[in-house]
Symmetry: C2
Subunit: 145 residues, 2 copies
């Protein structure tokens, strides 16, 4: 049973890939689907497990390939926290991350426009920032412990 995307996310998916001349394969759709389906900032490993439930033959290399492709198409974001395995996130709005050092859980943190523009203004003259990463770590919700 291949993973089924909703028709709206399938459109997003198809056009993002076609725009880059890439093929919307079932593996890519599945990887995208599992990331959209459970927005818990899964690692490549988590994603591999979930994808295998839908497409049992899928290899690790394919999961990594698909993730790279999806990131390249702007469909998902990579979230790197310290040295821990990379996590993936379908939230494309500008936002920060908070990691609870006790539970390891990662939460999205909204960035309001005012703060966002002040942050962007930190970049010195002559530098051009394409990417910004903001993350916090500390103790999270009491329910995490």
């Amino acid at each position: 049973m291949p993973y089924s995307l909703t028709s709206s996310s399938k459109d997003t998916f198809n056009s993002a890939l076609r725009e880059k001349g890439l093929r919307p394969t079932k593996q890519r759709a599945c990887v995208y689907g599992v990331i959209l389906g459970k927005r818990d900032h899964p690692t490549a490993d988590d994603i591999y497990d979930r994808v295998k439930r839908h497409l049992p033959g899928t290899s690790f290399a394919t999961v990594y390939n698909c993730l790279e492709t999806l990131v390249g198409c702007g469909l998902v974001r990579q979230v790197n926290m310290d040295r821990s395995p990379t996590r993936y996130c379908p939230n494309l709005t500008p936002h920060a991350h908070f990691r609870c050092t006790q539970s390891g859980k990662i939460y999205d943190v909204e960035i309001d426009n005012n703060t966002l523009s002040l942050i962007q203004a930190l970049v010195p003259e002559g530098f051009e920032a394409e990417n910004l990463d903001l993350s916090f770590s500390g103790t999270g919700k009491p329910s995490d412990n």
Copy 2:
């Protein structure tokens, strides 16, 4: 010829370690010294090379151990940019980092107090941030290319 710290940084070093009941060994002093001596955000590998020039017998494990200790004492900061090797920085003031994707160089970026407090205010109710990481990547100074 063991690395010699200036007397003021030697004081900082000694008291930071003593405060935690740790010993100010020559390897630790040397690792701290090379990080202070060339503030170019070196990797563990870079640090290893530099330390070996002063204390030839030093092992990789020791460099990692020392770095962990120094970070734990608050003498240096770890800088993680994406998946690249961890870098180390003796600048303890609140600051962000900018990585030039062409040259790989990392620059410190000051954060003014106003922006800093707005960033801290992003952390939701009930969460307690101990750490904040802000980094940019993009094209840096023309001289880098």
